[in-house]
Symmetry: C2
Subunit: 204 residues, 2 copies
């Protein structure tokens, strides 16, 4: 069966609408999806960026929020800007990585909805704990596992992989043959590629 | 009849596939399109950028070329990278602005095809002259008009308008109610908006 990796960062705005639909889009194409949380901070730093481009370039940042508002309106998704932006996403990324399979996907969707749908702070341990309880998980045990040395090292390794794969933003989709697609607006194209539907002239 | 402005920069890669389809997309929605050539240089400078982001961030730049390759392959458009990139686009922008209506649109499409479809240098006066001849225009007279003080001042005014409208990249589509859509991948959404098809929740 075809497969693809969905790379996402909890602080990333466009990762929110993408996370809300990527599982459906993958299922429609019989593509098995691996959810891979990572941090953009180390990626940006490795590329000479000190902050999200949306803060470095305020005109672009204003546009991004309006664009996101229109996208969410079209798809019936709530949108409320969290403060500060970007949100500190380390805790959420560690917890997501500590979970597996459907629990990771559902934790991620609920965390995005709290952050960008309700404007809540995802650095808040109590919020993360409530999401875990809602998923039927033990919050203390999960948080302990998320903050174990092994899981912290695992997240660092994921960020190193992201840099190696040429990622520079989120969300990103990477296919088994190493093809990279950046952005919520490339999900269909990337998953089509993963499913083997690709223009002949684009072969490398 | 609904209307929208299509803002484009001859040095901009994604403006190429956009220019090749925007007239058809607008006609399908009964939207009258105004072609508005401008220069990104003054816009970037006003926003603290010293070059195209694709050169400032090489990882993003490499992705952009691959993304463009896939888009062109899907749409049956030839693609050949011009050197240098970005191309000096001042002459082409002046000539486009000196033309009107369908002549401007057709000159723009032919210039993009020469630049990104064939890798030719659009700073070459002979190339621009040949495109004008192919369009049945007088190249000397058109170039003289393009480089008149009035036309030079007109292009400067267009760049100032672009900054005022909040543009930060190309291609961009601006609707009559001032809504901004950035990128080839937002053309359909922007023209839908221009035609009155817009999600209620996105009203300002």
């Amino acid at each position: 069966m075809a497969a693809a990796d969905f790379w996402y960062e909890f602080a990333s705005t466009y990762s929110y609408p993408a996370a809300m639909r990527v599982a459906r889009l993958a299922a429609e194409r019989n593509v098995t999806l691996a959810w891979r949380p990572f941090l953009l901070g180390p990626v940006f730093a490795s590329q000479g960026m000190r902050d999200t481009p949306f803060n470095i370039y305020p005109v672009k940042g204003r546009y991004m929020w309006r664009d996101l508002q229109r996208i969410c309106a079209e798809r019936g998704l709530p949108l409320r800007r969290p403060e500060p932006f970007p949100q500190p996403s380390l805790l959420a990324a560690r917890v997501a990585l500590a979970l597996e399979g459907e629990a990771r996907a559902e934790f991620s969707r609920r965390t995005y909805r709290a952050e960008f749908g309700e404007g809540q702070s995802i650095a808040d341990r109590a919020l993360i704990g409530r999401i875990l309880v809602d998923l039927g998980l033990d919050p203390e045990a999960t948080l302990a596992q998320a903050e174990s040395d092994a899981n912290k090292a695992g997240l660092k390794a994921e960020c190193a992989s992201a840099i190696e794969l040429g990622l520079f933003g989120a969300p990103s989709l990477v296919t088994e043959d190493g093809e990279l697609f950046w952005g919520d607006d490339r999900l269909e194209q990337g998953l089509d590629w993963a499913a083997g539907r690709r223009p002949a002239a684009a072969a490398r």
